[in-house]
């Protein structure tokens, strides 16, 4: 932390609402927290909960930027709170839950349900009816570079930032989002998944899929894992157009 920032008193304004409490209504509440060296929003929010308001709801699990639980709007921008250092922010910070997901309370949202629905809809698993797996035999070979490319896309943590940063989904609530399109790109790349182009076309070859994207690319800007969403969406779109021409 820079010297001039030492001993700042942070003002953290949080959009609060407990949907389980019929008397509550959405409102902003501001807390003051003495900043410490290396402080993250994980540390600051826990400090508030422990010392100022023990009813404050938020979600952290790994607190290391790996699990995707703590996505929220930090000064209006979707990001992972656990790895956001307060020293990189102005003294006055506003926090709000990610939009579009079911609100559990305060900053806690139900991304799990949304993502599970998406995975079910896109069937994000290996499809291979002919697979003859033996527990005893050598594994199937794969080109090392291809394995790396698949891992690159497999790094998505389903945090929901791309969904919250998406313009399209505001108008098309069933849009699969960059998270969904990235998953399709991942399985399309994977030779173990025997689905064909036309199968993928069935899944995302419409306006709720790749043709719905308005190419605003907020997703790419906010993805905490820096996934190549823009190029994958463009690639899928070309592939889908080719597929549609074939039929």
């Amino acid at each position: 932390m820079k010297k001039e920032n030492a001993n700042r008193v942070l003002k953290i304004s949080i959009l609060r609402f407990d949907p389980n409490n019929p008397k509550d209504f959405p409102h902003m509440q501001t807390f003051e927290v003495l900043e410490a060296e290396g402080m993250t929003l994980f540390i600051a929010l826990n400090d508030i909960r422990e010392h100022q308001d023990n009813s404050l709801m938020f979600d952290f699990v790994c607190r290391a930027g790996i699990c995707g639980s703590c996505s929220m709007l930090v000064n209006g921008r979707p990001t992972l709170a656990c790895r956001t250092l307060t020293s990189k922010l102005e003294r006055h910070i506003t926090l709000a839950p990610l939009p579009l997901f079911q609100l559990i309370g305060d900053l806690s949202i139900n991304t799990g349900k949304w993502m599970r629905g998406l995975n079910g809809r896109l069937e994000t698993w290996i499809h291979d009816k002919e697979a003859e797996f033996s527990f005893d035999k050598l594994e199937q070979k794969m080109e090392p570079e291809l394995a790396n490319e698949i891992y690159e896309l497999d790094r998505c943590i389903e945090c929901g930032c791309c969904v919250a940063g998406c313009g399209t989904i505001q108008m098309r609530p069933n849009f699969v989002g960059a998270v969904g399109l990235n998953k399709i790109a991942r399985y399309h790349l994977d030779p173990r998944d025997k689905r064909e182009d036309k199968d993928y076309y069935e899944l995302v070859g419409d306006e709720e899929g790749v043709f719905g994207c308005m190419t605003l690319l907020g997703c790419e800007d906010v993805c905490p894992k820096n996934l190549p969403l823009q190029s994958k969406i463009a690639y899928l779109r070309r592939m889908m157009i080719k597929t549609s021409m074939k039929d």
């Binding site: 389980n20 290391a64 699990c67 790895r83 069937e123 994000t124 594994e139 394995a147 497999d154």
Partner: protein
């Protein structure tokens, strides 16, 4: 009253729990998984470096097999492990990784031709075989004779968890998210499920099942600094303990990982050192070769953590406002390697330390990381004392890690134990024994009991603040039940924790009185349970007057096989007890394939058991005779300690390897 019936209830949605669920589903049983968080957010996702399986595909893994993996695991455990369980594990690890490959994990692969690696601070050229091209590769890890740790960059746990969760979804496993099991339902020595609390709306639900599996991971969060996710609070072990019937094993066996970043305690993978990273002191001096000339930075985790602490105590640590630390230097690996194979480490360094690990050294120190102890089970994953209760993964003590776990053996254990235990559970569910005999009124009493407890927390007046008690507990564990332990401090720890336990009966949830989603209420009941677990750890550590693996007593530096070749078994039979009951279970030498010996670190102080010498000669005689007769390694193994008949039939086959080095 809400009751949900199922065949198999699984508490915990990480790798172990999900693998059990897919396994029992495959066998035709219904399964419901209760999880605190969406499964893909489980702590399994944080496993970075890799999964051990003796595939022997890469050059530096050549010649590897189950025997070598077994030997590493047993030595790593300081002979505390159950050798039959370890055998079952090493036999099935290659099967598990191959299954995961077919489920979509993009394991890093062998690339034919020459590549450079850093070994002992030198660049070394390694030539990979043509025929291995495209098979799963491996990296070096601590305490292993071969490069055996398979990986996907340093996001191994993440890739595994996503693949297994996707498989569970394909198999239509029912997942109930944000449901916390807060007590087990049991009657006449038989477990029938759990009372669970919905963390979103506070509703209490009774899940009644033929078999109940606890796969909730470790209890690292009883320490104030831990690499563990914040949900790793040991609630699975606690609800088992609170039955008064189920037992916990070796709770004092706690692993400290050498390289967590300072101050926040986030892990940087052992892969950093496996790939060639070095540990340096305040003078930039590489000190590990002085202590452990052979394995250096890649000695077993418990050893490296102790050596680092010793070196800091000699005044060689780097001073900081958060206490002394040492440096992890991975700059010698080069940017390209870091950005490809250690990318999570790079992100963590950038985001939490504001440094670039390709240029800067990383501030690290040993930090609580893994719970070897857990719910004591048989090799089938079933509680020894409470029928119908199963446990696997880090939550359990079945016991393959003894007093120290090897890096790369934990995610491997999750999927292997999940594969095996799901078969044993399915066998149980197929049998008449599994029939459920519990009345709805009895179930209702269990529900009511929990409801009353929660109500008491919310309505208590002039009570204790759960946060204050919890922080006090964490501090005691950090300061008095850490890497080096001694009788005086441990006695104080037990006394102070006992006092906290008494106070915790009087916890009041201040201000935040909601009966629905209420983090203060959650903290209150979990704190009560965590203090009980902390007591099992501290008391077990106080009573164990020897040093074994990660349990290191300054006042008893020797491993004492004569008196302590046994497991600590803890239970809480009477809820009014303020200390757990402690008992011991002998680890029989007579059937060990690898009788107790010297691990090869530091000075050999072992006090041997009188029966060790006889078993050593017997093992030697049998091996020699069979070798002379031209027996295969499998035949010799089988003569020393047969285990295959304990495995489900489908997992008994021989593992194929390139060139077949059997």
């Amino acid at each position: 009253m809400k009751i949900i019936y199922t065949d198999v209830l699984i508490i915990g949605g990480g790798l172990a729990g999900l693998r059990v669920a897919t396994g029992v589903k495959e066998r035709g049983h219904d399964a419901i998984v209760l999880t605190l968080v969406p499964p893909k957010r489980s702590h399994s996702a944080a496993a970075q470096g890799g999964m051990q399986a003796s595939l022997a595909n890469c050059k530096m893994g050549e010649g590897d097999n189950e025997d070598i993996h077994f030997g590493d695991t047993i030595r790593g455990s300081d002979w505390g492990a159950d050798q039959e369980v370890a055998r079952m594990f090493v036999h099935c690890a290659p099967k598990a990784i191959r299954e995961l490959a077919s489920w979509g994990v993009p394991w890093n692969r062998v690339k034919k031709g020459e590549h450079t690696s850093i070994i002992n601070a030198q660049k070394v050229g390694i030539m990979e075989k043509e025929e291995a091209h495209g098979l799963i590769t491996a990296r070096d890890f601590g305490g292993t004779k071969k490069w055996r740790t398979c990986y996907t960059s340093d996001g191994t746990g993440h890739s595994m968890l996503f693949a297994v969760d996707n498989k569970a979804q394909e198999k239509k496993v029912e997942i109930h998210e944000r449901l916390e099991a807060i007590s087990l339902i049991h009657e006449d020595g038989r477990c029938y499920g759990a009372v669970a609390r919905n963390l979103m709306n506070g509703e209490l639900v009774a899940y009644v099942s033929k078999a109940t599996t606890i796969a909730t991971g470790g209890y690292g969060r009883i320490y104030s600094v831990s690499t563990n996710a914040v949900i790793c609070q040991g609630m699975g072990q606690a609800i088992a303990l609170e039955t008064g019937i189920a037992t916990l094993g070796n709770m004092e066996a706690i692993q400290f990982h050498p390289t967590a970043i300072v101050p926040v305690g986030i892990l940087t993978t052992e892969g950093c050192r496996g790939d060639g990273g070095l540990l340096l002191d305040k003078d930039g001096y590489r000190f590990m070769p002085d202590y452990e000339p052979e394995k250096k930075e890649l000695a077993s985790r418990d050893v490296v953590s102790r050596r680092m602490t010793e070196h800091i105590r000699k005044g060689k640590g780097v001073q900081s406002r958060y206490g002394d630390h040492l440096w992890l230097d991975i700059t010698i690996l080069g940017r390209e390697h870091i950005e490809k194979n250690l990318r999570e480490v790079k992100e963590i360094c950038e985001n939490f330390l504001g440094i670039d690990p390709a240029v800067d050294w990383i501030p690290v120190r040993p930090t609580q990381h893994y719970s070897m102890g857990g719910i004591r089970t048989t090799h089938r994953g079933e509680s020894q004392t409470l029928k119908g209760l199963y446990s696997c993964g880090e939550a359990a003590c079945w016991d393959m890690h003894g007093f120290n776990r090897l890096g790369g053996n934990s995610v491997s254990e999750t999927v292997v134990s999940g594969m095996l235990v799901s078969e044993y559970i399915s066998d149980f569910c197929d049998s008449k024994e599994s029939s459920v005999h519990i009345t709805s009124s009895k179930i209702e009493t269990f529900l009511q009991k929990e409801k009353d407890k929660l109500e008491a927390l919310l309505t208590k007046e002039n009570g204790e603040d759960a946060y204050i008690l919890r922080r006090a507990m964490e501090k005691i564990m950090m300061e008095k039940v850490g890497i080096f332990r001694n009788g005086d401090d441990l006695q104080k720890a037990v006394d102070e924790l006992e006092e906290l336990l008494k106070r915790s009966k009087n916890i009041e949830v201040f201000r935040s009185k909601s009966r629905a989603a209420n983090p203060a209420l959650v903290n209150a009941y979990r704190t009560q349970k965590m203090i009980k677990l902390a007591l099992t750890v501290a008391l077990g550590a106080l009573l164990r007057e020897e040093s074994r693996g990660a349990h290191s007593r300054e006042d008893f530096p020797a491993r004492d096989d004569e008196n302590w070749l046994k497991r600590t078994i803890t239970s809480w039979p009477d809820k009014n007890q303020t200390l757990p009951s402690v008992d011991y279970e002998e680890i029989p030498i007579g059937n060990m394939e690898l009788p107790p010996g010297f691990r090869g670190y530091g000075k050999d102080l072992t006090i041997h058991h009188p029966k060790t010498a006889a078993r050593v000669s017997m093992v030697e005689a049998i091996s020699k005779k069979l070798e002379a007769d031209g027996a295969s390694r499998d035949e010799i193994q089988n003569a020393l300690m047969p285990f295959l008949d304990k495995l489900p039939k489908k997992y008994r086959g021989k593992n194929e390897r390139l060139g077949d080095n059997s």
